[in-house]
């Protein structure tokens, strides 16, 4: 029977490394997705995801269980990613170049060859449109899309009200929709 996150956290707080390993295996892809969505760069996203779990390990004893483990770990991931983004301030060309590999890899596994060109253009435009969002707007879109998180959980992760989440999502979607109207 699979242990719950809470049980694993308790074991972790007792010093069991295997419990932490299990938590990492459950969330590493999702945390990486969040970082990649915010940073749009493979290496930076990988670095941010690893740093997220490192910090979670160091702070695991301060985790009281007031929120769920996944909102807690996402909060760390979002903070690290936004912080990384603000520090680096990459220019748009760097973003595009760094996402080219991701786009190519996605095209390799595309199953419908007739949709390839359209999809590739859509992804390129999507990448550009996401990059033009502010970190706060990017964060709500990424959290909602990847995990399907509720507004309440997103508000806990970002430390804002549910109303703010709702308005940021509305604004971010409107921006993306305007930029991608040709493809939608």
């Amino acid at each position: 029977m699979e242990q719950s996150d809470r049980e694993l956290v308790k074991q972790c707080q007792g010093g069991e490394m295997s419990a932490f390993q299990e938590l990492v295996s459950r969330y590493h892809q999702k945390v990486y997705s969040v970082s990649l969505g915010l940073l749009r760069n493979r290496e930076d996203a990988l670095e941010a995801a690893q740093e997220t779990f490192f910090r979670a390990y160091r702070k695991i004893n301060s985790f009281q269980g007031g929120s769920s483990f996944y909102t807690w770990i996402y909060r760390i991931a979002v903070n690290i990613s936004i912080d990384t983004q603000r520090r680096q301030k990459r220019n748009p060309l760097d973003f595009r170049a760094s996402m080219d590999g991701v786009l190519e890899a996605q095209n390799e596994v595309a199953k419908d060859p007739f949709a390839d060109v359209h999809d590739r253009e859509l992804r390129e435009q999507l990448t550009q449109a996401i990059n033009e969002l502010t970190p706060d707007h990017k964060a709500v879109i990424v959290l909602r899309t990847i995990e399907g998180m509720s507004y309440k959980d997103i508000s806990q992760v970002l430390g804002c009200s549910e109303g703010t989440v709702m308005s940021r999502l509305h604004y971010a979607r409107k921006k993306l929709q305007d930029k991608l109207s040709v493809f939608l």
């Binding site: 990486y32 990649l36 493979r42 991701v102 996605q106 999507l126 996401i130 899309t145 990847i146 507004y151």
Partner: protein, 180 residues
């Protein structure tokens, strides 16, 4: 048209399942009968799928073991002190704390400034405040000096005849004398 505007603001939340039942019913009924809002719904759904595909496709190829080894390495290796300090600062100086620090700093400055009114002499460590203001008024050789001391709230009024005024008075007498 106004209704369309207000409904459009809610379509995203409706698709997210975040509206209450009354709002959901209202949006559903409108979208079913309005081609423009129906089109917006279709676009939002397509946008969601494109975003999901874009954000999750890459992550599914991330292998666990190399990732775990890198995390383990970070945990076991000793970090430089400045990295620890940077982490501590990042945790400590969070946005809410920085936002609170501004009004707190202003309140502290105001408290320090107004403290003088309630605790006179606190800045000089209780030493006697020797500040005094002297105003003088000349009046035909006579002067009035006011000496005010704030600490004891004492005012001394000092009447005297200054030398200069005396001389002027004497000169006046001298010059006016021979006229007769």
């Amino acid at each position: 048209m106004t209704n369309c505007e207000s409904i459009r603001e809610l379509i995203g939340s409706w698709l997210d399942g975040e509206l209450n039942s009354a709002e959901s019913d209202s949006v559903r009924a409108h979208v079913a009968g309005c081609p423009a809002c129906g089109e917006l719904r279709r676009q939002l759904e397509k946008l969601h799928l494109a975003l999901k595909d874009d954000l999750t496709a890459e992550a599914t190829r991330l292998e666990f073991m190399p990732f775990w080894r890198a995390v383990q390495q970070r945990i076991t290796q000793k970090r430089a002190w400045h990295e620890d300090l940077r982490d501590w600062c990042r945790d400590f100086f969070t946005a809410p704390r920085i936002a609170w620090s501004v009004p707190v700093a202003i309140a502290l400055v105001l408290a320090l400034v107004s403290l003088e009114a309630y605790v006179p002499g606190w800045r000089s460590g209780g030493a006697r405040n020797n500040f005094a203001a002297v105003d003088s008024i000349d009046a035909y050789g006579h002067s009035v000096a006011l000496l005010r001391e704030n600490e004891s709230r004492t005012t001394v009024i000092w009447l005297y005849q200054d030398q200069e005024g005396e001389n002027e008075a004497a000169e006046d007498t001298k010059t006016s004398g021979p006229a007769f």
